[in-house]
Amino acid sequence: MISLGIESTAWNFSVGVVSEDEVIALEGDAYIPREGGIHPREAAQHHSEVAGKVLARIFEKVNPGEIDAVSFSQGPGMGPCLRIGATVARTLALKLDKPLIGVNHCLAHVEIGRWLTGAEDPVTLYVSGGNSQVIARRGGRYRVFGETLDIGIGNAIDKFARYISLPHPGGPEVERLAERGERYIEMPYVVKGMDFSFSGIVTHAMKLCDEGYRIEDIAFSFQETAFAMLVEVTERAMAYLGKEECLLVGGVGANSRLQEMLGLMCTDRNAEFFAPPKRYMGDNGAMIAYTGLLMMKHGIRTELSESYVKPDFRIEEVEIPW
């Protein structure tokens, strides 16, 4: 069975094709804002301009006739961006006369992570620009055990990066700066129950910049504080649920310090830590294709009339038959 998946929730327009055993093709085109953060309409404009080219590259590698299902990211995400992906998917499904499958974006991150790493029943830390969640399976659904009360961790890092005039995306640059940090400066550490908040750290980091503190030390303290909050809640969920696997997914998962911290936490509690290859951590079409394939195998498909986008689509809404 071969599934094609379209991802377009935010910054990336990406198309992947997978079989049950491997990723056959993955092509994409990232939107880079000229200034400031991601502008939903500009990003959507970008996606609509590149969609044809990206698909053409896919069909150089895959014969359209081989495709058994067309999956697309139905949400959560930016409405205008989601609509481009959904429109392309509908058109393709009709043209190829194959079933259409609407996939939850967060679920897709978790499922491709499990597929590529072999993690069976992990507590997943999903960290990206817009999302920061601790997710685990309970019964027939995934549930969110902790999440950000305000902005996603990626968004928080980007805001700080823009303030010190680093180019988009700010994550890798801030990570490089942090490696040269020497001194820890106290930052607001906000964990309430199982939830956390990052906006206080951003504001504080900006203030420290204005006061002339060393940028490297600020970046270092920013990362150490924010990541410790994420690791703490992840560990708590593992202890509470008695799970012995931890999976890291989402674009911010590429950060090596975050990986190191989660790895240490797992070692100390005799748990196993998993992280998929970087290429499959951030938003990509292969994760949508793979999750679509799982859904298809379990008889799930999305009627055209039900294929509207869901910007607030929660992972808990999806029943998991596998």
Partner: protein, 197 residues
């Protein structure tokens, strides 16, 4: 004889007449942050335990606090999980009403963290507690208890009802209950009529 329990955040050593709670070092955090958090939380937990008692909630007496260690009285009673019934659940509700009136959000309201002694419910673990006046935090607090009841007891429906009878002593009861219902809806069913395109 000492019984040692490893929690997510702390090691609990149960002696004959007292209990030690030691916040252990987390290697994933840098030392400065780790020391700061463990000290701050130890102090904060000790204060909340005392403050809760001042507001009429049964808690262990604090015997000593130093660095990252709290020494407290051992409550020798029956674990609530083993003797749960409507009356016990109602008493828990009254206790939570007092905590919330004092601005304390417990953060981990499960029967595992409660002991019945001489007809009183003792709340023994405030490791995840904090002060918060928001209705949301309190709604989440009682939702944790609701989930714990559902997971552990077949008659969770009547236990929950009894809990609410006790909890109704809290002045903002109806607000919190309303928020609880919203929290319960989240992630279960979301109106799909919007955002059609």
């Amino acid at each position: 004889m000492v019984k040692v329990i490893m929690g997510g955040e702390a090691e609990v050593r149960i002696h004959d007449s007292f209990v030690e709670k030691i916040r252990i070092r987390k290697r994933y955090r840098i030392k400065e942050l780790d020391d700061f958090l463990r000290r701050r939380r130890t102090i904060s937990e000790a204060r909340i335990i005392s403050n809760a008692r001042k507001h009429g909630v049964a808690t262990p007496v604090i015997l000593d606090v130093d660095d990252c260690r709290i020494v407290m009285e051992r409550i020798d009673g029956e674990p609530v999980r083993e003797i749960m019934n409507r009356d016990v659940s109602r008493e828990i509700g009254k206790g939570v009403a007092k905590l919330h009136s004092a601005g304390i959000v417990h953060g981990d309201l499960t029967p595992m963290n409660m002991i019945l002694k001489n007809g009183r419910i003792y709340f023994i673990d405030f490791g995840l507690s904090y002060y918060d006046e928001r209705v949301e935090a309190k709604g989440v607090d009682i939702h944790v208890f609701y989930e714990a009841l559902k997971a552990d007891f077949d008659n969770w429906g009547e236990l929950w009802e009894a809990f609410l009878e006790g909890y109704s002593e809290y002045g903002k009861f109806s607000h919190v209950l309303e928020r609880f219902r919203e929290i319960e809806m989240r992630g279960r069913y979301v109106d799909k009529s919007e955002n059609r395109s």
